[in-house]
Amino acid sequence: MRIYTGGGDRGRTSLFSGERVAKHDRRIEAYGDLDELNSVLGALAAALGDAPAGGPAELGSEIERIQSDLLQAGAWLATTPGSTAQASLLEVTPHLIAGLEAAIDRMDAELEPLHGFILPGGSPSACWAHVARTVCRRAERRVVGLVDAVHGAHPAPELGEVPAPTPADRQAREQLGLIVIYLNRLSDYLFVLARHCNRRAGVPDRPWAP
């Protein structure tokens, strides 16, 4: 089966819910950033595997689970709220966020308390974790923008009553909200992971000294 169809050769692509949109559509931008984040996480996983001390197996599995979570989140971004396609999506749950928090707490317990900003850098895996962190923040900004555009609009009263959201609309809104929280937490996870990687590599934090 060919990977290419050429349907996007003129700058338009299909959402999972079937609509044809321009490639600069908000949804495409949002899940494009998630895709970029996922790719950087792949590089991070590779760097963890190449670490002289050996990347711990649980970290590799953890990164892989996060990558899977991001694909799940991306599917919601690629689907118009209330569409029939929405019924086949897997939900992003608070449990996924709790998993990140548990991982953060686990790594943070072994780190020296921070007293100021640190310069991003250090071991290769730490560097990749910092890059992933910043891409994660960009993805978060994009998704917040999408949420505001899709669900945050308040039409002027003279335009008439806003129809009540359907259960599917409410579900989509809740999912986008959870995705924002997930990305917010993931960014913190990646910051702590960077410090954790440096500690394992014997590289000290470099405090910012203005």
Partner: protein, 212 residues
């Protein structure tokens, strides 16, 4: 493998025993695993049927398709699934199903599962490759066979036949408007049909599955 039925000189149907608790939605596919290779096949059987059925393009040489063509009744087939999201999604817009070659498979399953009222464009080289045409025409609101090979004299006077590609029919005979298009088959058809949707059927939905 329970049975094989030749559909045309270029395709056959394979009937397989259904594993217990195997549930699927019409339009989904299974992944056949054979000596380190794998290939996806849409199920043509309805979800309620007791056995599973695949539509396989006839090929020679190494590969999963050729291996399936060599099976004897009673031989085992390893597969995983169901996979895929190419399922029918009801909406207020008229549905237009477009298929070339074995891409007709998921639409057969959908029709057998009870889908009605759709427009179906079945693309093939000649009338001999219009497998499942009779049952699909009975299920469809509008059925058109789009034949690319010249010489089908009988087809010329029949409104159910069109001399040309499915995309040409879409361009010349499908009224502009908003539809839900389901495209399945060759990558070239999917590309051309999708670009045509952008050009002439703005506001339509497009779902596609590339077979070859």
């Amino acid at each position: 493998m329970l049975a094989r039925r030749q559909l045309s000189p270029r395709a056959f149907e394979l009937e397989l025993a259904r594993p217990p608790d195997f549930a699927f939605v019409a339009g989904q596919h299974i992944r056949v695993h054979w000596e380190g290779r794998e290939r996806d096949y849409s199920l043509v059987s309805a979800p309620a049927q007791a056995t599973l059925a695949l539509c396989v393009g006839q090929v020679t040489g190494p590969g999963v398709a050729a291996a399936l063509g060599q099976l004897d009744v009673g031989d085992g087939v390893t597969f995983s699934g169901p996979h895929g999201h190419f399922i029918f999604k009801p909406s207020a817009r008229p549905a237009v199903l477009v298929a070339t070659g074995t891409g007709i498979a998921p639409f057969v399953a959908m029709a057998r599962a009870g889908l009605r009222g759709f427009t179906l464009l079945q693309g093939a080289r000649d009338a001999g490759d219009l497998y499942y045409a009779e049952e699909l025409a009975a299920a469809a609101h509008t059925y058109v066979a789009c034949l690319t090979r010249s010489g089908s004299v009988a087809a010329a006077s029949d409104p159910a036949f069109f001399r040309g590609r499915v995309t040409e029919f879409m361009r010349t005979h499908l009224a502009p408007g908003r539809y839900d298009f389901y495209l399945c088959g060759g990558s070239a058809m999917i590309r051309n049909a999708t670009l045509l949707v952008d050009e002439r059927f703005v506001g339509s939905l497009v779902f596609s599955e590339t077979f070859f």
